[in-house]
Amino acid sequence: MYGGGYIQEEKQEATSPIDDSQKLAEFEARIDRGEKIEPHDWMPADYRKQLIRMIEQHAHSEVIGALPEGTWITRAPGFRRKLALIAKVQDEIGHAHLLYSAAETLGKSREQMINDLLTGKSKYSNVFNYPAKTWADVTVIGFLIDAGAIVNQVANSKGSYGPYCRALERICYEESFHLKQGHDAFITLATGTKAQHDMLQDALNRWWKPIMHFHGPPDKISEHTAKLMRWKVKMATNDDMRNQFLDMYVPKILEIGITIPDPNLKKNEATGQWEFSDPDWDEFKRVINGDGPCNAERLAVRQYVEEHGKWVRTAMMNPNQKVVIPFA
């Protein structure tokens, strides 16, 4: 999905290693020419560090993002929705798999990354710290969170790091199907019975704030990262992505008779920018720092999975393994 619209950036350390200036100039020239950087190429230490952080957080977002929707697989109404939802959540885990592999090319193992997720050292997309209370929440996530993620991922797929770009291209292709199934389920509720319509409206009311948070704090209060933009690690600003998302999806929500719970939301035709009420950036900060409605629950589930699967992983790493090839 989900690929954290907003990726927390690492604070620049005063003591970050000084890179060879000639190599740095060559590296930047390659990026300017639109070349992709590959795992064995020289790269500045900061570039490597920021990319690991970004891809890792994206991977964690896929794993954690599978939880709120995953709990609805067993309750999905009818064969069609059930099959689509299993396939969709399976894709998300598949994306995590791809992304952990892409991050591993930069030198951090999957196990280290998962450990950092479990200890809270490494973050994931804030939006999954909110609960999916009803079936309508699943349609809001499938439609609008996936849509928000696509805006972000399409931009990042044009970045400079080869393995991440290739993973994103494949991910975006699958996400576009997720978006279709989410949109279809969303429309079905919007145009269904009164109870279905009300359930959807209630879900959107609850999700609107996290959706507005999805692409991160406004540019004026977020740390500017000119270097990351120059290195094509970050491809678009938070405000640009949010604006693009609103441009594409607000009309689709309104046209089916669902209202958006923000009386101040409107497009300024002169500037081309959407204007909206403050979506409470303090809440955003609180939630990202662990104090959201589901932070503890999400990590507890992953810790349960980690502990209960440990014997399997230990067994798989047994050096005395007798059988190693499938009976094809």
Partner: protein, 249 residues
């Protein structure tokens, strides 16, 4: 006609309930690769249930598949009790997967020459998918049976716990003689024999032992279930039954 319907319901209900259990592993697997594998197999199983219910609807004018799957009462379901048991840990789920999928694969293989053409056609397609389910189960059972002391003990203990339930897959129906005479299906007894022949050497290769005493757990095929089925059905129907039957979702 009743004979075929009964056979189709047994198969469809097995696939539906088992697919539900497998889908519960989505997001919860011991490693990501297994998470993905179980989600994939769950889709296949639920797809197989849908295909069997669709034959019932098309050939025997029953209700539509969504109604058959989501609105029947517990005692109307004809799945074996094996598939309704809660997932427990990965060991339990894996051994059940091994025991069930071998039976399932052989069943569809036998049915691919059935005189009932719609089922024969479907079986040819399904057995191609089940080949991979069986391959997956065999690979993991053999690895974990031979890996660490703990993994071996877990596999053996799950096998002991599940064995009698697995024998319940082959609970004969009231229509065995008719199915055999009309060359629709060679019957549960033949299926069980082929299953034993197939799984015995793999269990041996996994360094495991088939429990010496065995009493099949019957009842599932006649609508008698464990207390683990009703909560599953309630959960499955939670959303769809919140509105009038036939509402689009």
């Amino acid at each position: 006609m009743e004979a075929i319907k009964n056979l189709l319901f047994r198969m469809a209900d097995d696939e539906l309930i088992y697919g539900h259990r497998m889908s519960e592993w989505t997001g919860m697997g011991p490693i990501m690769e297994e998470d993905i594998a179980y989600s994939s197999m769950a889709q296949d199983k639920i797809g197989h249930a849908l295909a069997n219910y669709s034959i019932l609807e098309k050939e025997f004018q029953t209700a539509i598949p969504d109604k058959l799957a989501f609105f029947r009462k517990e005692n109307e379901l004809m799945n074996s009790q094996l598939v309704e048991l809660s997932n427990h840990e990965y060991d339990f789920s894996l051994v059940r997967h091994f025991l069930f999928d071998h039976a399932d694969f052989i069943r569809y293989e036998m049915l691919s020459t059935s005189s009932f053409v719609p089922l024969a056609q479907l079986s040819k397609k399904i057995k191609g998918e089940l080949k991979y389910h069986v391959l997956h189960a065999d690979t993991w059972l053999t690895r974990l049976g031979n890996a660490t002391e703990e993994s071996h003990a877990r596999m053996q203990s799950a096998l002991n716990e599940l064995w009698n339930y697995a024998l319940g897959i082959f609970e004969p129906s009231d229509y065995e003689a008719q199915l055999i005479a009309e060359k629709i299906f060679d019957g549960e007894k033949v299926l069980q024999r082929k299953w034993m022949e197939k799984i015995s050497p793999i269990i041996e290769k996994a360094n495991l032992k088939i429990p010496s005493s065995s009493t099949p757990v019957y009842g599932g095929r006649k609508g008698y279930h464990t207390d683990q089925l009703q909560p599953l059905l309630t959960e499955m129907a939670e959303v769809i039954s919140s509105e009038a039957e036939g509402t689009e979702w």
